[in-house]
Amino acid sequence: MIPAQFDYLAPKTLDEAIALLAQHADDAKILAGGHSLIPAMKLRLAMPQILIDIGRIQNLSYINEDGGQIRIGAMTTHYQLESSTTLKQICPLLPETAAQIGDVQVRNKGTIGGSLAHSDPAADWPAAIIALRAELVATSTKGDRVIKCDDFFVDLLTTALEPGEILREIRIALPSGRTGQAYMKVAQPASGFAVAGVAVTITRDQQGRCQSAGVGVTGVASKAYRAVGVENALIGGPLDAQSISKAASTVTDGIAINGDLYASEQYRHHLAQVYARRAIEAAAQRAQ
């Protein structure tokens, strides 16, 4: 449980950090909370030669709302998101998701940007980010680049971030109208990671029918994904028990489900359907 030798760099500004990363792109990893990276390093499953700690950079930890947009700094901790009274009012899915991550220690140190950039296939944030149709802002020596959440998660532990890029900010359109949100998951009892987790946003039109829907699924496949079939099945529908159940049954259509010793493919498939249904029901009920 002792990591291989590495150099530790702690830049004070974001510009300094991206310059360092550009210089050491192949050998360096960004430390952004470290609750996945450090355990992997201690087991010597990851052996970066250089750690660039972006935890001492000012102004990377914030939750702002202006111009119909919520902006979250990449180094905002899970706990800050969980306990934000602003978010509880304007976008409760974020605190609800944060509250279900790992344990208190993880939530106190782990960050939303770190989690997204690591892209663990069972992490909670990716589901919420996809349901909310967030945009992610990456920065490098070439400037900022905005990545849509649907393009961000590429494969297992692989994102659209290029070598030299640092995830800087998460942007979410301010939910409006009769919107309800929910995140529900089955947590692995040892790790707290999602065996299956489903994040849902539902907006009703004036007649109470489903106007728009966002459904993000984590824990089930090699990466978090948008359940497009479920969204399409919900939109325009009455959001009654039958239509919700029917929509939720398509949650893994076209997806290669992963199994492990804890949960087989069939079991995950079943859990995903049940939790999709429950999360949609909860979101629909909150959309009043």
């Binding site: 990893k29 010597r44 892209s119 992963n258």
Partner: protein, 175 residues
């Protein structure tokens, strides 16, 4: 752990088979393969720097091809160990002509993985295997399609990912 899958390649079956048994081609196509030395008729010793994302490990071991029936079938037997753990297992590859040209490769195998990587990474093993199989076959397809007088295609991670993505889009939108 069982690994099963089907991969459709746009190249002709004889060329795909040739690529799949050519050590030079395999060395270029196996993700993270650093060396592949012939040790017998159809057996090789290899060093792999395998992994996904920031999780990587170096494995060394042996690869044997058995029951070779060109251009239909062979069996691959692997045995390797490294700092993060060990893996051993075998798998069958079956090649069939695809309707309308190209080749369908069906693979199925059983692999035992042990050590640290299995202890803490068990939940990601299947995903990692799928990802590497997909990278491998994407690279094999490019090799089999390339004219023999061209220099061999490059398989940097980025290119392989791009090829894999474009293949995925093709499948997604053309049924």
């Amino acid at each position: 752990m069982k690994i099963e899958g089907t991969q459709e390649l746009r190249a002709a079956r004889t060329r795909v088979y040739q690529a799949l048994v050519d050590p030079e081609v395999l060395k270029r196509c196996i993700p993270g393969c650093e060396s592949l030395e012939r040790t017998g008729e159809a057996s090789y010793s290899t060093t792999l720097r395998a992994g996904v994302g920031s999780i990587k490990g170096v494995f060394s071991g042996s690869v044997k091809l058995e029951d070779m029936r060109p251009p239909d079938h062979y069996r691959i037997v692997v045995d390797g160990k490294g700092q993060p753990g060990f893996l051993k297992g075998s798998g069958d590859l079956d090649l069939e002509d695809r309707d309308g040209g190209g080749t369908v490769v069906k693979y199925s195998g059983d692999i035992q993985v042990g050590g640290t990587i299995a202890g803490v990474g068990q939940r990601m093993l299947q995903g990692a295997a799928r990802m590497m199989a997909s990278q491998f076959f994407t690279a094999i397809e490019a090799e089999a399609l390339a004219e023999s007088n061209e220099p061999p295609p490059k398989h940097g991670f980025f290119r392989t990912t791009l090829r894999w993505l474009s293949g995925w889009f093709r499948r997604a939108f053309n049924g």
